[in-house]
Symmetry: C2
Subunit: 297 residues, 2 copies
């Protein structure tokens, strides 16, 4: 089938490419680990060709639209940050163009807004968000840097970032708390215990130390400690979300264990959780932005 | 002069030994990097002898008293955690004895209490605290794991631990925020900016992300970013201290840049800061505990 768009979600650690048909259906997809940090000598043109030359270098020369950290200062071209509120029209109107000698390569801009404590930015998530097709509501994208976005009339009007996933990861790998942990399957009871612990006083920097004392004095096992820590951190994120956005319900983009854990934390916080699949949200978003920009009809 | 006590503060990364005279004065001191993690095959007896054999193996055979992580499960002997409230008498009454074949080696117990969110423990800091000689007031020991202790009538009645220093260190070294930083002298203005930022909403996991956006969008330099992060974290600690302990004043154990920064953060939080020297506080504390235990007269 004819390719109407080559859509590329190019992040820090991965590159995912989609060949999209005339009606927006995903015809093929490919991915590799050539995230922008892995590309040598800024040869992004070569890295893209390695992954998708046979889709792009054809007589029809379909348009190429990318999103993610490829549009950052460390990427191929620095795409702007568009101010909120922003939806498909604003994203489509501010595409950047990568300096590729042979093809027209477009890049979706990032977004900037005011978080709860200062300026906030996203790059890549805006495309996933519009890819969900949700026109009104609160969307949660869990991950290394979790994003919560408020959508009104098809436009993102506010969002807040939390470094929850990254803080978990470095505490697990690099802190004294990690020495009290071993690899083990997720422990739902310990996760719930962390959710409860985070409702106590003393702030996060104190509560983190109780991961240690729970092991010393309260019988928390080395197997259960990572789940306890995860509950503590996700619970802190949820408390801030409640305070800032007070949503009755929110849609988690994604599936699997992390999305389930977020849903449980939301439930404990009194937020009703729904789900939309995350896997191809960026491909659907790239197609929608391409239409808004007139790259495809 | 005669040795009345060999006092050893033996922590995770360092070992510091003091030869103490009949009136409690420090006659000599030595230190090396043989913290308990560096001692091979649990040969603590040999490591102690390497540092202080000529003080200990004499005809007079002075008593040896140690404090710190040497009394942990990873140390030479697991000393108990004594429950609060505790002062010199309680510490002196619960000394542990290390299994040394040739000498009597005593170890000060740790303390346990209820922090703000769960059980809390200290090991080593209790000796520094009694070494300050402060009988009533709030004491702050800044560091990897900061401790705040409330002293009444010469006994520690409450304390709270914050993982502030360790969280700073792993964010600086291991997170994406560290990539936005370079080594540079402390920047007092950026530190103050962090103290102000932490008073905003959204919680710590969100505010940490603003270290990144402050660099992208608010002109925070790579040189200033570490000081901003430090202000943010110490400010969070201070907010929890205010909420939990509401002290009008507190005494910082220590000197130098970190103690100064804590004093500034306390000032911004409306807590009057005093100082006592930290360097020999553990030696003075070990001597006081030794007297309470009857090891010296």
């Amino acid at each position: 089938m004819t390719t109407s768009l080559v859509a590329v979600d190019w992040g820090t650690t991965n590159c995912r490419a989609f060949r999209i048909g005339a009606g927006g259906q995903i015809l093929e997809k490919r991915a590799n680990a050539m995230g922008i940090l892995a590309v040598k000598n800024a040869n992004f043109s070569g890295a893209l060709a390695d992954l998708a030359r046979d889709w792009i270098d054809t007589p029809a020369a379909p348009p190429v639209l990318m999103c993610g950290m490829i549009g950052s200062a460390q990427g191929w071209v620095e795409a702007p940050y568009v101010h909120l509120p922003a939806g498909l029209d604003e994203l489509g109107a501010h595409l950047a163009t990568a300096p590729d000698p042979r093809r027209a390569i477009h890049v979706v801009p990032g977004l900037r807004g005011m978080g709860a404590a200062g300026p906030d930015v996203m790059r890549g998530e805006e495309t996933q968000i519009v890819g969900t097709g949700i026109a009104d509501g609160v969307i949660c994208l869990p991950g290394t840097h979790s994003k919560w976005a408020v959508i009104e009339g098809g436009r993102i009007v506010r969002f807040i970032t939390f470094m929850t996933g990254e803080v978990f990861s470095i505490l697990r790998r690099n802190s004294i708390l990690g020495r009290l942990m071993v690899e083990a399957p997720h422990d739902p009871a310990a996760f719930a215990r962390g959710l409860v612990r985070c409702q106590a006083a003393g702030g996060l920097l104190h509560q983190l130390f109780t991961v240690r004392t729970a092991g010393l004095l309260e019988g928390l096992s080395k197997e259960a400690a990572p789940s306890f820590l995860s509950g503590l951190l996700i619970g802190h994120e949820m408390a801030a979300v409640k305070e800032q956005l007070a949503p009755k319900s929110a849609t988690v983009v994604g599936a699997g264990a992390l999305a389930q854990n977020y849903a449980i934390a939301m439930n404990v916080a009194g937020i009703e959780a729904g789900f939309v699949p995350g896997e191809d949200a960026s491909a659907r978003g790239l197609y929608a932005v391409a239409r808004a920009a007139g790259l495809v009809r």
